[in-house]
């Protein structure tokens, strides 16, 4: 709760404290007379001191009134809600890509004892988290869309076309792969390090004493223990995933929260700007809470801790 309060103060401050905030947007219009500006400020409540504005904003926020979008002339909460689906789809798919490839490669590296493989995994891991997604995304688009014409140039579906599942997946593939590739490296490394650390644990040794091969002992007995903490890591990584999604959405013209934020900043549509950030903050809090609870279900040991 206090965290939520601080987040709200922070967001409000970032938008309202500096010059060029909502109040100055109207003033910048040369056709606006001083009286009209004053009247607009009164209507939007911008003539009040900041703490009054903040309290009013927070009260309404909690009641579900996030203000009206200056541009779309409808409640900001609706504008944001419309974009939630695409972002969830993109981040979900990227997470899936990252997890599957990352855990797969991590297991490969963790079970293998060849220094060459382990070295290669380390290099790939570092390179993977060093490539900016807005660049790799642009290159992917350039090669596979502009030149080869294998994938669409962006968007969630063919415009005017039938909304089939296949079409949606076809549009989703490239951005999800680009965004997910960043996480492949991380999970891979995490799983490899985890497998190495449990390799000497008693329960893996017992399994080997029973006559299991090293690989089998690690996979059957070691891996579940390594994957468990992944649930928490997943929750903690979410803000970064959202940051990544914001750029990826812009590159691939994906109509999600990130592109909405970008567009709203350009048009200075502050209720929507705040709305997107609030949604992001709340999503992270919910996921963190959910992972904590889930962890208790998955690992009985923490329930008594």
């Amino acid at each position: 709760m206090p965290r939520l309060a601080l987040i709200s103060v922070l967001l409000f401050g970032v938008v309202h404290l500096p010059k060029g905030g909502p109040a100055d947007v109207y003033a910048a219009d040369p056709s606006a007379t001083p009286e009209a500006i004053e009247r607009m400020k009164e209507i939007w409540g911008l003539d009040q001191p900041l703490h009054v504005q903040y309290l009013r904003w927070v009260t309404r926020l909690v009641q579900g009134d996030w203000g009206r979008s200056y541009v779309e002339r409808r409640p900001a909460i609706e504008v944001v809600a419309d974009r939630l689906g695409p972002t969830l789809r993109l981040t979900g798919a990227a997470l899936l890509v990252g997890l599957m490839a990352g855990v797969g490669l991590g297991v490969l590296a963790g079970v293998s004892r060849s220094p060459g493989v382990q070295h290669a995994v380390r290099v790939i891991a570092v390179l993977g988290m060093s490539v900016p997604t807005f660049w790799s995304g642009a290159i992917v688009l350039l090669v596979f869309s502009s030149y080869l014409r294998w994938i669409p140039a962006g968007g969630v579906g063919t415009i005017g076309g039938e909304a089939t599942l296949l079409d949606a997946l076809w549009h989703l593939a490239a951005p999800a792969l680009v965004l997910g590739s960043v996480y492949v490296a991380q999970w891979m490394r995490y799983v490899q390090a985890g497998l190495e650390s449990v390799a000497d644990d008693d329960f893996v040794r017992t399994a080997r004493a029973k006559g299991l091969s090293r690989a089998r002992a690690l996979l059957r007995h070691g891996l579940p223990n390594v994957l468990l903490p992944l649930v928490t890591v997943l929750g903690l990584e979410l803000p970064r995933l959202l940051s990544g999604a914001m750029v990826t959405e812009v590159v691939f013209s994906w109509p999600g929260i990130g592109r909405l934020l970008h567009g709203s900043l350009v048009t200075r549509d502050y209720p929507v700007v705040l709305g997107t950030l609030i949604v992001a903050g709340v999503a992270v809090l919910i996921v963190n809470l959910a992972t904590d609870l889930l962890y208790g279900v998955l690992d009985p040991r923490v329930r008594y801790a």
């Binding site: 206090p2 965290r3 601080l6 987040i7 922070l10 967001l11 970032v14 938008v15 500096p18 010059k19 060029g20 905030g21 380390r122 290099v123 570092v126 390179l127 988290m129 060093s130 490539v131 900016p132 997604t133 807005f134 660049w135 790799s136 642009a138 290159i139 688009l141 350039l142 502009s146 903690l236 803000p239 970064r240 959202l242 940051s243 990544g244 914001m246 750029v247 812009v250 990130g258 934020l261 970008h262 900043l265 350009v266 200075r268 700007v273 997107t276 950030l277 992001a280 903050g281 992270v284 809090l285 963190n288």
Partner: protein, 273 residues
């Protein structure tokens, strides 16, 4: 920190050399750059790499190599300043929180958790959009959103070091708490902080270039690697080299920082970071 271990890692050493070379190139940009980075030449629009322009020219006929060198100055300077600022803020706040506990800890942890649960890029985008930043405001904005990771690590370090016998001895001698913290505890926490700062530098560079790519970073015509990718967006198809080189520069620098951080972590004995 065992430096012998660091120097026995070819990748880490190579990455350090690359970083050094990049830093020198950026520092010496005015002497190395063959052209004025902002000189518009309408006779040489979008020339492919080769000939008089090694890396080609952009849509305004500006020399890409010269712009890249000057952009490196901005990007590296920003990464350095932001990392230094964020490390200073994060270490101080984290150390105070870990050492004094109680309400100091609660306050710092609250701020850390709040900032860590927001997408950094989103916050920086908003700040960049309302502030129209120059180099220094941009650095402050980025530092203000990136210190929490350092604070977490400093806090955790101080929390464990505080229980060591030498800390107890220092307290038993009647030293003032500030002295115990800054003279006895923090120096022992330096190694993991250096690793974290190196990796943070890589993150900062990525966020900064994403910010510039989206148009919230340095204002044109000041070149930055992300900004160059932004300006070239409409010409990727006709002039792919405009898309390739700045991205390569970012990837090279970020991965060099990450490799150095990796090697430093190994030199520390795999702890922390």
């Amino acid at each position: 920190m065992r430096w012998r271990v660091f120097f026995h890692q070819p990748l880490g050493v190579a990455a350090a050399v690359v970083l050094l070379a990049l830093a020198v190139a950026a520092f010496a940009a005015p002497y190395l750059a063959p052209y004025d980075p902002n000189a518009i030449d309408l006779r040489t629009l979008q020339r492919p790499p080769g000939g008089a322009h090694w890396l080609g020219t952009d849509d305004l006929g500006r020399d890409v190599l010269s712009r890249m060198l000057y952009a490196g100055r901005i990007s590296l300077l920003l990464a350095l300043v932001v990392t230094a600022l964020a490390t200073a803020i994060g270490t101080t706040l984290g150390a105070l929180a870990g050492f004094f506990g109680r309400w100091t800890d609660r306050l710092v942890s609250l701020a850390t958790d709040a900032l860590l649960s927001l997408p950094v890029l989103g916050l920086a985008m908003v700040a960049g959009s309302v502030l129209r930043p120059n180099l220094w405001t941009l650095a402050v904005v980025l530092a203000l959103v990136s210190w929490p990771i350092l604070a977490r690590i400093a806090r955790a370090q101080v929390l464990t070091l505080r229980e060591r016998t030498y800390a107890e001895a220092a307290r038993a001698l009647g030293l003032r708490p500030q002295r115990v913290l800054f003279r006895h505890l923090l120096p022992n926490a330096v190694a993991p902080l250096i690793v974290a700062a190196t990796l943070l530098g890589a993150q900062v560079l990525l966020v900064e270039s994403a910010l510039s790519f989206l148009g919230y970073g340095m204002r044109p015509p000041t070149p930055s690697w992300g900004g160059m990718l932004n300006e070239a967006q409409a010409f990727y198809r006709q002039s792919p080299w405009l898309a390739v080189f700045p991205g390569l520069a970012i990837t090279l620098t970020v991965s060099a920082l990450n490799f150095v951080g990796d090697a430093l972590r190994a030199a520390m004995g795999g702890r922390g970071g």
